[in-house]
Symmetry: C2
Subunit: 399 residues, 2 copies
Amino acid sequence: MINVAILGFGTVGSGVAEVIEKNNAHISEKAATQINLKYILDVKEVPGTPFDGKFIHDFSIIESDPELNVVVETIGGAKVAYEYTKRALAAGKSVVTSNKELVATHGCELLRLAREKGVNYLFEASVGGGIPILHPINSCLAGNQISEIVGILNGTTNYILTRMIREGATFEAALSEAQANGYAERNPAADVEGPDACRKICILSSLAFGRHIYPEQVPTEGITRITLEDVSCAAKAGCKVKLLGRAIARADGKICAYVAPHLVPVENPLSSVEGVFNAITVVGDAIGDVMFYGQGAGKLPTASAVVADVIDAAKNWNQGTIMSWDEGGADTVYSTDELSSRWYVRAVGTVAPSGAQKLSAPEAENVVFLTEDAMTRPALDALLQQAGVTPAFLMRVLD
Amino acid sequence: MINVAILGFGTVGSGVAEVIEKNNAHISEKAATQINLKYILDVKEVPGTPFDGKFIHDFSIIESDPELNVVVETIGGAKVAYEYTKRALAAGKSVVTSNKELVATHGCELLRLAREKGVNYLFEASVGGGIPILHPINSCLAGNQISEIVGILNGTTNYILTRMIREGATFEAALSEAQANGYAERNPAADVEGPDACRKICILSSLAFGRHIYPEQVPTEGITRITLEDVSCAAKAGCKVKLLGRAIARADGKICAYVAPHLVPVENPLSSVEGVFNAITVVGDAIGDVMFYGQGAGKLPTASAVVADVIDAAKNWNQGTIMSWDEGGADTVYSTDELSSRWYVRAVGTVAPSGAQKLSAPEAENVVFLTEDAMTRPALDALLQQAGVTPAFLMRVLD
């Protein structure tokens, strides 16, 4: 039997409890051992649930219970969650989480602690909600050298962009609608400014390339500057505007990771990912492109991924550490300035450089165009300066 | 160290050898042990490869080598491959294969033999080529009760349908083109008549639902009767014609599995899967819809999936069986006659039943329409008889 404790009885924590109870026979069969939900730790009393006898308020009960095997951390943030995760791992418990902030910030340290104790720190739910992505990268794609990961990693911004593209809603109107539907927080900065996608590409690239990439190493731009003019000019170029997290490996093993809105050509399957859905494309030397698609958030999809990790932790109990990566550093990354792409440029004025594909109407206040050739950002800046164009907004094309 | 033998040095076998050699350091690190390619069994001499010293012609060398751990079977078919797989498992070797015919026909027996010997029989590459799908179903989605699997499982037919949809090529012209490009065999029946997709949906549903579904239990229809009129009428209804393998679980646990062309609405992400690509959607009670997309065939994508299984077999050496399902039988399945859907109907004549959405022009030789309501096939037959319509061709809509 494997005993499980859940830390935090919020949306994800209560979903995990529900899935463990509802599908218990099936889950225990898959784990080849009985999975027993023993404790739920929460600061508040939560009466009237089917889990009445399991609530506790003191973490040391979990820490000191020698029969407790797996701790599910759904507290969020990088303070209390960080402390409890360290203490749980140090006490020889495996820890499963959906906490992307904690993994992106302290993943390497926590994975090392897990390895030292011969337990697991697993976080499939931290990226892509219920979509299986970290486990397949670690296992099913293990025969490949991965060269690139690119994905729509944030459902809220994808919902907002979808409403702008399909309904012609402004950014502000689409954001209000997302908030009214519960897809966006009252303070939407973590979504619309890009930090949520940034944490996820940190986790994906750390796992795929083997060294920790930290959020401060990932230039991050959100979607707040995108206008309806951008969306309609993108359509004229056969593209959709999508916020992408992207990480590319150079031949010497260094990684360039960044988050920014892109023009995605409609032939690319990422362009047809709409609403709150997420999708992640992984490029391997043997497999080519493979894409994983599904609900990137939500109580039960996220709980589904957490429970899969609980099963994995149970199956691998006393069998060592499944997943790990090494410490990163300044020498892990290279600058986005080295990346070539075609560019979307919106500028005040009417003159486009020669050879560019003009997307704006002749009489429009702004000139909008695509560069014909792929080039680096410094090369673009030189071209624009030469043509006397001062850009107001730039996006790369995902070619 | 884990020693590996490859049976058959054809397209997939040589790809596996290449990937194991090229990415050996990375693969051995992932397996946490050295992966060593020890033998390649082939009837013919294959001089001039980097694997010169490894070729053998006698299977009993592999069978009787106590240091040989994993056998990669890429012979194909269900005769020699069946015999060698049984003998390898009986000798306590794990077996990895891309052989869908063998798994769909004898999977349950071979999995049982593997379980008895405490080894593994793994076949990720048998479905979806390089796309990770069986492993995620077995592991990452293990917290879910799966209710449905539906997918584009055959790249050749999807290439033909894509050419018909995008270029207006006839079925015959598109097939010739697929043959010229090496995407279709000289005898294309296994692709265009559906048996290849049938074997794959057998494997997917056996794993997802836990009991063996055999090919003869899966009604199978190919794409040979689809005309350009069907493709253009489908477009008028906002749909694309796709050959789907589909398996649906009823509340009592019985499964309905079948292969047939469908109308897929453009809002469904399966509709945008083009050319030789495959995609598989899995529906779980917690996760909702999740889709896996990638190259469904080809030397290196398939080799990538085989090598991932070799790594899994190595990691789980002496640790028991990862994956298994139970024997099936007549009580495992229920009839497609119970499945309701909207229907696409092409018939000679001009009269459509009242309430149907007519898709053909008034002057056309055939009447083509969609039923307004979802209904079973017997209910459709009754409706058509009542309206005096004799159908020439029928497809379900994937709603």
